[in-house]
Point group: C2
Chain length 460, copies 2
């Protein structure tokens, strides 16, 4: 007998029973926040008792809090086959042993892209059922560390993740894959680049922009690329592995400190900024683009530095910004501030007194550029030199969000601001580079037929 | 007889006299902030009495505050010919009449690219001496509205500029050019897009990334492109005109609400985000890339809407952000807030109570995405719908800085937050578009020979 309330618990289950609604039915839900129509999906998350998940006609899934539901009507019903064929993940002597950590986010919780169902495929057996190619690549072990939305990841999770990675490396794992929601994947990649240093093996962060119940999902292929990188590549760096072009031709490996989410919905959302990606990856091979990366080693040595001072903040300059923003950070006990300034690293004059006060209070202030590409250069104009005399430190070509993560990490190790400066200004994993290559910048290519054709192709 | 203190006044003049130092000498300056070597340049700015301007060996110019100078030594002297041959700008019957407004910034103050000198070339006669091609393009009239660094431009300047533009249009000018520092040129372009609507003529903002005393200066060519656009194009929009590629092959015209500075030092720093540029421009012709722009008209009608509420602010989300940032904005009387959120428009849970309080206080909060490309989409996850129930309004694909400018402009017109919402969500000059074209996004093109060659060429 089919369980028509597959996976639902608590209040959500009660509401479904109250309106006599089955999973997989086509339903119209009235709520205090508006109406929704779509297919009632089985539940993915483990502990949630408050939401009914609906697949909208747009292909997106929404979770509706049952407390807002005033009525559900069943419009039709079509039974679906949604079970992932769970098989034991085969162990093959000689294949690399890979550890997959789950942190929450799409890739860890939804992997059945064949049936239209949302399934928490995460155990090795489930992953094997959903993406059987994984068994050709590696021996897989999985561990769910957290189940939080990407935007709720923070220092606590960074530290736990770094320690868990360290333990696996010391046990002799051949590579690490971390499943992560995409919103703040690049912040976590930066944090792990600082907290896990001199790794002998690849550490690959991976996510997906489209959940695996959508036909265009990138979840399975990203996971295959990530597992291939972790198992087979000699790139012993913290990297982000996601689609290169919007089409599924290849993935790119981006250095953890030089990557940023640049599109809210494209699958090719992650871009290396101010550099070229480390490598291109397909199902069959990994093709390095750069040569200067740390090579895989045979030892189990790694430095785990799980520190973070939470009282750091970032200010993003805009015209007419007033100093109250900075004064309130001083009053609220912030211990470090990163500014994303304009141009070569400027802010307006009304902020100067507040910045001087930071210096008086011993609060280090680092300057980055909101252009994302290029360097802070504060010697060009007198205004920049004024800011430096007030203690503002130019942070080279560090990305603003990377400088924020690094400052939290540095202040977590010491409150001596000279030592903090030494840590900040010592390049780690190319967070500061001597130059940015010409082909690391973006050029509008319209009108060059080969380029137009290439762009059209990769956007198919 | 040569005035060896050319252009210096006040304290700066006294210090030069004290150390017996001539303009154009090769000097070593000791200051309390470090030492500098280079050529003492004549002064460009009008009212400044406190700085000596030095051309460093890197080609950059620095202004050194004389109060910090402890010693100057003359190392050598070579007289330079730096006078711009000032000729009367010829008036040609039948040529377009163009008004050039100066706001400060490199292009308006330094235009003599032949002699290595920094000269405030701004009057029509000086511009004609420096860039004689301008006389082939148009009849030119100039007016210096302000002389502020780009990062100090703000609402007061936006309003004055809009009113000045309106007066010129009503007098029958054929096109407007605005010289502007590059740091916040895109913010001003957005402000003018809102404050000057339904213009019958092109309004072209232009700057330069390298001052005109450097051999690689883009000042003269940008000005030629901008004057050509203002005089000859049928594009009656507010546009930014700057180098397309890093080489000088062509300029691009970017819509004022869809443009952003994306590189701190490249000449090709301005990029259209989430769309393609309106047109390509060379010395000879203007080639439209898009078709949907406002055409030039023969009337003198224009809507000038010079409004701005200064108590608006922007918050740029980062992991572990704490609500104190938003509470302090509430306490400090902010009347509107723009958030640049992650992914599809998210922030972490600790901010929710602060955002709810904004709703209680009647402070509108608009959500944009810090990915820059793509749309806010807050219906996908429950967290997004929670935020919307607390009053957060998704701002489509408006750029964060554009949403900030628009919110200040909307709140300057009305404090009724429903009317503000109507203004915010009504697309103006493509600040919100229905879709972003596939070739408006950036793709890493490495490995495609034609593309690599193209990129190499444009970076020559």
């Amino acid at each position: 007998m089919i369980d028509i309330f597959k996976g639902y618990k608590g209040k959500a289950l009660s509401v479904l029973k109250q309106f006599n609604i089955r999973v997989w039915c086509d339903a119209h839900i009235k709520t205090t926040r508006g109406d929704f129509s779509g297919i009632i999906l089985p539940r993915a998350e483990n502990d949630d008792k408050n939401h009914i998940v609906l697949k909208l006609k747009t292909g997106y899934n929404v979770g509706i809090n049952v407390k807002n539901i005033t009525e559900i009507k069943e419009l039709g019903y079509k039974e679906a086959h949604y079970k992932i064929p769970e098989k034991e993940f085969p162990f093959t002597e000689g294949k690399a042993n890979i550890k997959l950590f789950g942190t929450g986010g799409t890739i860890a919780s939804r992997l059945d892209y064949r049936t239209g169902a949302v399934i928490p495929a995460f155990s090795p057996g489930e992953l094997y059922g959903a993406v059987p190619e994984l068994a050709d690549i590696c021996n897989l072990e999985t561990e769910k560390l957290f189940a939080v939305f990407s935007e709720n990841m923070g220092p606590e999770q960074y530290k736990k993740l770094a320690i868990a990675i360290g333990n696996e490396i010391k046990k002799g794992v051949d590579g690490i894959v971390i499943g992560h929601g995409t919103d703040t994947l690049h912040h976590t990649a930066a944090a792990i680049s600082y907290m896990v240093q001199n790794s002998p093996v690849p550490i690959v962060l991976v996510g997906s922009q489209r959940s695996s119940d959508r036909p265009s999902s990138d979840a399975a292929l990203n996971l295959i690329h990530a597992a291939t990188t972790a198992a087979e590549s000699d790139i012993a760096e913290v990297v982000v592995c996601m689609f290169g072009p919007t089409s599924d031709e290849y993935g790119l490996l981006h250095q953890g400190t030089r990557v940023r989410k640049m599109h809210s919905s494209y699958r090719s959302t992650f871009r290396t900024i101010g550099d070229v990606p480390i490598a291109r990856v397909t199902r069959d091979k990994i093709t390095p683009i750069k040569e200067d990366y740390n090579r895989r080693r045979k030892d189990n040595k790694v430095d785990i530095l799980p520190y973070f001072e939470e009282k750091v903040g970032m200010i993003y300059y805009y015209p007419n910004m007033q100093p109250d923003m900075i004064y309130s950070m001083i009053d609220n006990g912030y211990k470090g501030i990163v500014i994303a300034g304009t141009g070569l690293g400027h802010v307006n004059k009304p902020l100067y007194p507040a910045i001087r006060k930071c210096k008086e209070k011993g609060i280090p202030v680092y300057m980055t550029v909101q252009t994302l590409w290029g360097y802070v250069h504060m010697f060009v104009y007198d205004t920049g030199r004024d800011l430096m005399s007030y203690g503002v430190i130019p942070a080279g070509n560090m990305l603003p969000e990377v400088a924020y993560v690094k400052l939290g990490w540095a202040l977590g190790q010491t409150s001596d601001i000279d030592k903090v400066k030494e840590i900040m200004m010592t390049p780690i994993s190319n967070d500061i580079t001597k130059r940015e290559p010409y082909n690391g910048y973006l050029v509008y290519q319209g009108g060059i037929p080969e380029v137009e054709e290439f762009i059209r192709k990769v956007h198919k």
